[in-house]
Each structure stands twice: as C-alpha cells, then as structure tokens.
C-alpha cells in the first residue's frame, strides 16, 4: 500500500526515473515516512485507549522490594514496554535509588528503556520483518540484563551524587483516571500528540539518512568498506559512529533498512542501531546530574563492549 503510493507519487506524478539516485531516494523517503507515521499513530492511539502506557511511578512500585533477579527481569521488561523520554531519566534514577532498588537493576532499566519499546517493536516488524525484530529485541534484553550485572561489579554507589541519597520521596499519589470511553479517547489523542511531537524529528532524520543511503551510496562501496562480514573492525566502528549520533529507537529503523538493503552485515547493522539508540552524549549529560564521570565512563564502556560482542556474534552466525 505504502509502496504503491510512493511509486504512484514519485515515478508517475513527479516523473522521476526509478533507476536514478534521486528517484530511488525519494521513493524510499515517501514510502517510509508514510508507513512509519501511519503505524505510529495507530499503535500509540490503541495503547492510549487501553491505557497500556505505564508510568514510572507504577514501574517503581512493581520493582521495589523484589529479590534481585526478579527485580532485574521486571525492570528490563518494564523498561522495554515504556516509551519514556530521556528527560525522565533523572527522576527515575532518583526514585529507584530512594525505593532501595539496587543500582545494577536501575542500570538494567536505563539500558533497556531507550533501546526497546513497543512502538519501535511494531515498526521493526513492519519494516524489517519479525525475524530481525526478534533478533534486535532479544539481543537488547540480554545486553540490558548482563550490562546491569557487570555495572554492579564496579560498585557504582561510590559515584552517585550526594544529594540523591538525601531526597525523600512522598507517597505516590493516586491520580484519578477518567476511564469512560470519551476520557480514554482524549487521553489517547494526548498520548499521540505527546509522543509523536517528541519523536517526529528523529523519524524524519532517520528516514532522510536512510533515503540518501538507499539512493546514493553504491552497493559495491558498501560491500567493500562496511559489508564484509570478515571485516572485524566494521562492528566496533559502527558502535563508535553511533555515540555522537543520537536518535530515538524508531528513527534508527529506516536507516537500518537501507543499510541491510545494500548488503551491510546484520551484526554490524544491529550494533549501530543499538549504539545510536542507547549510547549517546545527550543521555550521558542528563545522567551526569545524578552520577559522576567515572560511573558514566564505565557505563559507556560496558555498553560499547556489549554492542560490539552482539555485532560480532550475529556476523559469525548468519
């Protein structure tokens, strides 16, 4: 449907040649923006209608006081099903610390949350197919679990800012919720506006980058420089490239689509996706408000190593 629309618009109405660079790029751009925004509106609206979007307050209540393995598993699952914006990382961190949730568990949550969310999951399935979606999500969950465990070994409590320990959180208020159908509809519309308003620019940037890659980068060049599975440096290279780049998890999907289409190896693509979504300078600067540099440096290194291992593993087995 979206493919047909893009074909009609770009090749017939605008009269561009499908074999030209501009034609291919524009076709990709039109197809992916219409498809992704269509999916975004539908998924977020339905989730809003079901009130299926968890608040960080509820997550904290679920995780607190559980044995560590269970707390960590819950934190990762809840991190994966909540599309939090990185601006809530600080209150989340403090709220978890205040509830006595171990720091390693908090780190597991912080890793899982930007990398995986249900919105991105549906779009992953829609664009890349369910096998790749399952690989990405599975690898993300494992990285979040192991990453949190490794962080704990470094005793990151040492580097938590003092004021964090002193904050006392009030009783979580029970906010009245309008559960009538019109109330749910209004809430769902609000969620669509809020989430799409927050991430549309990442989606556009991701699709534009993907479109340029799709239209202009020659396949032979890709295979020579990025694609070769035997090129061990491609994966760490992709991880490092992802650090200054930041995008929402949804925005990296069209870029991944274009890369895979040109023959970049799956592991290299997954490593770049994870690095762009979860490892970024803005996120680090936000977390700097609650933890000091040594902990952040370890956090970034643990993630970089984990993503590299994920990339190598998938390049080996595929």
């Amino acid at each position: 449907m979206f493919d047909a629309f893009a074909t009609l618009l770009v090749y017939q109405w605008l009269g561009l040649d499908p074999a030209s660079h501009a034609g291919a790029a524009l076709h990709f751009f039109v197809m992916d923006t219409t498809k992704i925004f269509f999916l975004l509106f539908i998924i977020i609206y339905i989730m809003g209608l079901l009130r299926a979007i968890l608040s960080p307050e509820r997550v904290r209540e679920y995780v607190r006081g559980k044995p560590k393995w269970l707390a960590r598993t819950l934190a990762i699952i809840l991190g994966a099903v909540t599309p939090f914006c990185s601006c809530s990382s600080v209150p989340l961190f403090i709220g978890f610390v205040e509830a006595g949730i171990p720091l390693g568990v908090t780190f597991s949550f912080l890793i899982a949350s930007p990398m995986i969310n249900e919105v991105a999951a549906v779009i992953l399935v829609g664009i890349l197919g369910w096998q790749l979606a399952a690989l990405y999500i599975g690898a993300g969950l494992v990285v979040a679990y192991v990453g949190g465990v490794v962080m704990e070994r470094f005793k990151p409590e040492r580097w938590v800012e003092d004021y964090v320990w002193k904050i006392h959180m009030g009783e979580t208020p029970s906010v009245e919720v309008d559960t009538s159908l019109p109330g749910r509809h209004r809430f769902a519309i609000g969620e669509v506006k809020e989430i799409v308003g927050r991430i549309w620019k990442w989606v556009f940037a991701g699709v534009a980058l993907g479109a340029l890659f799709h239209g202009y980068v020659p396949e032979a060049w890709v295979v020579e420089h990025l694609g070769g599975k035997d090129n061990w440096l491609a994966v760490p290279g992709a991880v490092i490239l992802g650090v200054p780049l930041y995008s929402n998890a949804t925005g990296v999907i069209p870029l991944a689509e274009a890369m895979l289409g040109k023959g970049v190896a799956i592991g290299t693509t997954l490593a770049l996706m994870m690095s762009i979504a979860a490892l970024s300078l803005p996120e680090m600067l936000i977390l700097r408000k609650v933890i000091r540099w040594p902990a952040l440096a370890i956090y970034a290194s643990v993630l970089a190593v984990a993503f590299t291992l994920v990339g190598w593993t998938f390049n080996l087995i595929t």
Partner: protein
C-alpha cells in the same frame, strides 16, 4: 483562591502546561495563584517522577504529560 503548582524541571511540556492552565483560568474567570516547582527534590517530595505534574491546593491531580483543556477546566470548576 486556588493554589496551583506545576511540577517540572523546565522541559517544554512543563511550560506548555503552565501556559494552558493560565489561559484556562483567565477564560473561566477564576483567580488562581500559579507556581512553578523546578527543584527535583521538591518535585519528588510530591511522589511524582513523571513530569509535568499538577498540584492543586497541595493535592497531586495529574502527573506525566500535558493535561488536556477539558481536564483543566474540570479542576478549575471544582
């Protein structure tokens, strides 16, 4: 007079919330005392982790996201 506090550490949504409440109060002709709470410790003392939050006369009525106009009008009418 109602005392309304908007909890939020300066994100765009918090400013929008403040503006919406201000407009709604003027529209309804209700006098309110509108405050902004930006200190993270103070915000969390209300038990709120997801901003923006709204506190009316000391009671948290909303947390996490910009409230819609209809909801705001409901608070002011109470």
């Amino acid at each position: 007079m109602k005392n309304i506090k908007v909890l939020g550490s300066g994100c765009a949504n918090c400013k929008t919330t403040l503006k919406l409440i201000d407009e709604a109060a003027k529209e309804a002709g209700v006098e309110v005392e509108l405050e902004k709470v930006e200190d993270i410790g103070d915000i969390m003392a209300y038990g709120v982790m997801s901003t923006p939050g709204v506190v009316i006369d000391g009671k948290v009525v909303h947390a996490g996201g910009v409230p819609d106009r209809k909801t705001i009008a409901g608070w002011l009418a109470e």
